[in-house]
Point group: C2
Chain length 235, copies 2
């Protein structure tokens, strides 16, 4: 993931700035620059939560030129896309495609978010190398500022979940053996066993079973098999 | 896209409910159910903007059972993932995988979002068919409620951007012809023309040129060619 700077241009509500700082912490970013913001006070800090350090360290500048200093790629964001007319500055890339394109980019990137009401001005958009947008319902495309910024950060975040250990091949064989045993001992009709084994195998495949789940389910089958065998012994 | 119902359980801040209603309008959803919410007043409506109809129509109920009535799949959301322990109710699917899985699902789906501070309770999660989470920075995984809901809605929204007309094959041939003409008339070294044509072709390929852009660029080339030809005529 390249270094990402979040630049908020002319925010009018400090709550939005605080919410952006919080989301930056959620997605592992820390470089925030504000261009001519409203005063940043209690409401911003209340909403920043664990992102308050980011708010403390935010740089405040007067111009976009200062805000993007040191960044090789300057990216504008806009919810208003005007196809059909010939406004080149407003031909955007959907945010997911943008995230894929810059995944291996090594130069710093500045991403500009505009004012709550009018967004980025035409002359500001024209200075951007790229315009990014979030696909939305055409009838009401304008997202709240901090929500839009959060979706962009989410798309750029390269986090995989730490997934729990999956059932391995050996576990799998034992599970299906156990299931077969259950069908045999339970007097499940012989002519249906093969198809039912396949059905069970497919279900487990779709569920992507963890090792722990495998252990639990196999325990259930084995207990039932033992119970049946015990009963038969008692007869 | 299946029918999606957004269920917010025990929200404490009406602003979050309003922000969720706005995002629902942004992503074309309209079925909102609130379980034991805080009072919904001015702050919620102020933040709902064009989502205020959704807020008006939101159903308020006392139990999750009532909230999910009519939904075949009940999905919980959680930012706290506890791998390693054996808490099955907390083994989640990342939200993108979830969105892909249910894309062609035809039954109604309820998605539950929990309280701002403690999320969904263990016994509430256990009633869900599936748990979904948003990959985040492990050091601070807890997103603001309305931001989390917005990311889930964004992932479920199947909107493609209405892309502008791309340059077609015929346009393309004319553009490269024009570019070649420019090299010839501009006395660009003959032995480098082939490689430079390939380079130009690759650049245009990466840029995915729109028809309008094609027209503009070709105009520039053709004007230059004409100018050179005119000068030559004058000599």
């Amino acid at each position: 993931m390249p270094h990402i700077r979040i630049v908020v241009v002319g925010p009018k509500f400090e709550g939005n700035v605080g919410a952006i700082a919080r989301s930056m912490a959620n997605f592992g970013l820390d470089d925030l620059v504000l261009v001519n913001p409203c005063p940043i006070g209690d409401d911003a800090y209340r909403r920043a939560k664990h992102g308050s350090d980011i708010l403390d360290d935010a740089e405040i500048v007067d111009t976009i030129r200062e805000a993007v200093e040191g960044c090789t790629l300057v990216v504008g964001t806009s919810g208003v896309i005007t196809y059909g007319d010939k406004n080149c500055a407003r031909v955007p890339l959907p945010v997911r495609q943008f995230a894929e394109k810059v995944k291996d980019y090594e130069e710093p990137i500045a991403i500009l978010f505009g004012r709550e009401d009018i967004g980025l001005l035409q002359e500001e958009l024209e200075k951007c190398d790229l315009l990014v947008t979030i696909p939305t319902n055409e009838e009401y495309p304008i997202l709240n500022l901090s929500h839009a910024a959060t979706i962009v950060m989410y798309e750029l975040f390269d986090g995989k979940l730490n997934e729990p250990a999956k059932m391995n091949e050996h576990n799998k064989d034992l599970l299906f053996e156990s299931f077969n045993q259950l069908m045999i001992e339970g007097d499940y009709p012989e002519h249906r066993r093969h198809d039912t084994e396949v059905l069970f195998r497919r279900m487990m495949g779709r569920a992507v079973v963890t090792r722990y789940e495998y252990n639990v389910i196999m325990g259930v089958f084995n207990d039932a098999v033992k119970k049946i065998q015990g009963k038969r012994g008692a007869l």
